[in-house]
Symmetry: C2
Subunit: 567 residues, 2 copies
Amino acid sequence: MVFARRPLLLFVFVSSLFVACVQAKVHHHKWEISYQFKSPDCLKKLAVTINGQTPGPTIYASEGDTVVVEVKNVLLTENAAIHWHGIRQIGTPWMDGTEGVTQCPILPGDTFTYRFVLDRAGTYMYHAHYGMQRSAGLNGMIVVRVPEGFKEPFTYDREHSILLNDWWHRSTYEQSAGLALPGKQFTWVGEPQSLLINGRGRFNCSLAVSGTCNSTHPECTPYMLTVVPGKTYRLRIASLTSLSALNFEIEGHSLTVVEADGHYVDPFVVKNLNLYSGETYSVIFKADQDPTRNYWVASNVVARKPGTPTGTGILHYYRVPRGRLPTTAPPTGPLWNDTMYRFNQSLAIHAHPSFNEPPPSKSDRMINLLNTQNRVNGLMRWSINNVSFDLPHTPYLIALKNNLHHVFEQRLPPDTYDVNTYDINTVPINPNATRSNSIYNLEFGSVVDVILQNANTLTPNNSEPHPWHLHGHDFWVLGYGLGKFNPELDPKKYNLKDPILKNTVVVHPLGWTALRFKADNPGVWAFHCHIESHFSMGMGIVFQEGVDKLGRLPEFIMGCGESKLGN
Amino acid sequence: MVFARRPLLLFVFVSSLFVACVQAKVHHHKWEISYQFKSPDCLKKLAVTINGQTPGPTIYASEGDTVVVEVKNVLLTENAAIHWHGIRQIGTPWMDGTEGVTQCPILPGDTFTYRFVLDRAGTYMYHAHYGMQRSAGLNGMIVVRVPEGFKEPFTYDREHSILLNDWWHRSTYEQSAGLALPGKQFTWVGEPQSLLINGRGRFNCSLAVSGTCNSTHPECTPYMLTVVPGKTYRLRIASLTSLSALNFEIEGHSLTVVEADGHYVDPFVVKNLNLYSGETYSVIFKADQDPTRNYWVASNVVARKPGTPTGTGILHYYRVPRGRLPTTAPPTGPLWNDTMYRFNQSLAIHAHPSFNEPPPSKSDRMINLLNTQNRVNGLMRWSINNVSFDLPHTPYLIALKNNLHHVFEQRLPPDTYDVNTYDINTVPINPNATRSNSIYNLEFGSVVDVILQNANTLTPNNSEPHPWHLHGHDFWVLGYGLGKFNPELDPKKYNLKDPILKNTVVVHPLGWTALRFKADNPGVWAFHCHIESHFSMGMGIVFQEGVDKLGRLPEFIMGCGESKLGN
């Protein structure tokens, strides 16, 4: 007998299986996706909601638990798909919810059942990964608690979750159609009208040029965070902005950062925290200020000249009347164009010493990705190494597994660009780019380095931060730089000792970010700028690794493009 | 040999086949459905377009020709389907374009190729048959000319086509979501903002509460119909309004009605013509007025208190400067609530004596359909015999052919209502109704009578006309009445001598309309109020006949609901 040779190991294996079976729970959720009129910033607008709400319900579970979400699409003519942002979907790549990559969209009337394991405690999110539905309201948070008995490297009395977002009065149909117009015909998108804290903002109704704006609508009552003097709080903060880089602050209260994207970090104290779309953090703060007044909770646009007023909520000391607004002015955050301030905060983050998992010391492959803004056939696009990404209509996972080679470009995209000569400080000399849906093949189990390089846009003296999100993995952030990456010198300065693990990281204006990950999760994984319109406009790539190791794909992910019945 | 017994017949058959092959053409069209910003009434709005246009391109062909339309959906997240209104799809029921009935919707990125024969000359239309996309702009006309050598029963020098529509500034997403809200929460829909003539209207920009309104935008230049004095014109007029019953008039020019829904009618002269959504007419007029001035072409709302200004175009006598507007006031049409005026025009239409195909003298089945307005779980709905219709998400045609009995309610809907006791003149005493997707089974080849009975709505002293459209067939219009149908007396007054054949007919306020058709076209066919929101709210039924006679269904109509891969 094979097993007889390893009786002890077998025993350990069976016992741990038993423990897992006893403790891990299955959480069932039934969601209906529908249109609803909502007034999150007091202006009534059609939103895509979950069970009538935006943001959708927060999913609470513990590490190791299984979440089952039956998503019924009751939109009239529009499909849907939901991505579980930060959940690696180990062994279940078809549950990643990325339309065009891992599944076909969910048709009106259909129910798609997502089922996956929450493999690690932390703060995560979910959101639509189809068209621009995310910013239409289809989003929410996932809070994964540590297993019972596990001690986190910090303590607190209570916890709260805060989802930050920006909000637009134009519909996402208008926005996406506008982005697809050549030239500068479309000037509607501009800046978001409001910043939301847990789905609540406040538009100045006297500025409303259209629609119904009601400044006393209960849906735009400011978010209120009630605290008891002397108590300590954990705040789980997530940003799902469409566009805006944000700075978050609680007036008068310093924040100790303890978690980023599901990983414990070496605690550091900030007056305010910069968050880029797709990032999550946990911060600890103590209700240690004058308990006879309330304080502002504030979110401000940074890194782009703000055209959106401060988003505000209330930190409410529980003996103070709830409705009493602070008499102080809301915090306005750091200077919007103080790149160094944000850069230094990026550098301040290190893995927690007790939870440090250092990266492999070397990589097997280095991919240099230059982010540029381009004009393809008169259309504004974003490109990576001069390739502007388009999603295919047959998901890659199905195409690869079922050998449908013709559904996407088989020529491989470039691993690098003219690193030595490209001038990142000027507008692109030749802004033309190729549109393609080709993808990167990664050797299974290999260690991959990616250096993301930012550059000047088509506007002189302009470069914006781009938060890049990797599906199916965490990556180590080996280093950040301002200016052009130097392949000789900069790798020598990589932090290989205690870099943080993340799933989303910012590339600063005219800067670079280097990251490393192990291609050990069989599947097909998007890697893209988390600004929704930037991904729509081509700022992304796709990795495949170990698809041959996957068993038969579930048929319920199919039904579109070449995976229709009869094809 | 079997054929040897009928040598002459075989010869005739082969010859006529040869003639058909020589003459019948195949017309190929490639269409892309996309969002575009359009200003049909001077206010910029996102529209669903075909090749960038709304209305879409007119299809011109001749009787017997085949039309092939490759419809590529390039919308971002929204599906589509196109119905060929008035084309009976004999032998091709899967080409009818009715989502939920004959096909699955076309997904973004997919191309669906419609291919069908235009079996009869006449004036037809096409439009989306999915959600409320029709009123988002996805519509156009089909002009089928007579075969060469065929003499029509009237003459003219030139012809023009006119598509009438109403236009809303709210998006169809907002409208459909509003209709799905319980109670009276949604008061946005109301009346259309503009009436369009060939996609051109004129909103008073000073009333614009939102958006970009430019009264000199070229897209809202009035439609101009240029004529040469003394010449005779055929006008093919079609109405695809979402809601409005219309009256069409050319100032100072009488119109001779010669065709209705593809059938020649005994010519009759009108000052103006009432059209209900889904109807088409041909009229003949002579450019016989003062040729030194221009005249108004006008469309007015009737049968509903007008909240929409007159839609205007210009009849341009070719020597007059094109841009010169008439100095007269545009025609305002008949009194909006003059039901008798419209009723009498309905009665004036008879089949042309030389093209009269009288109906079978008797029917095999009589179906009495009471149209009521109801409130189901707080939601405003329309019902037929107390059943408010819902479309299934697996098309009936596929479900029936592939024995998927569970995808729709198998209990048959009622053939009648409490004819003797129901009081059509009051608001429904018990406004509750059942929602169901059950359908009517018709015996193949049988003759069916349908009596549509209108009733008072939920508003006291209110009843509106409903234009009912039957797919896959024409029907004889046996009679109209005002008041309640009397099953003893009214059938005796049926016109069995020269009733017109139509595919769409109005049921007047508080009135009834009796029609007869032969269930001889194997397939599944919707029969519904052509007011887009009314069908959405349940005002329709579905007939099936002879589905067992159909061969294997084409797989490209599948892919949704239970017809997905793997089901």
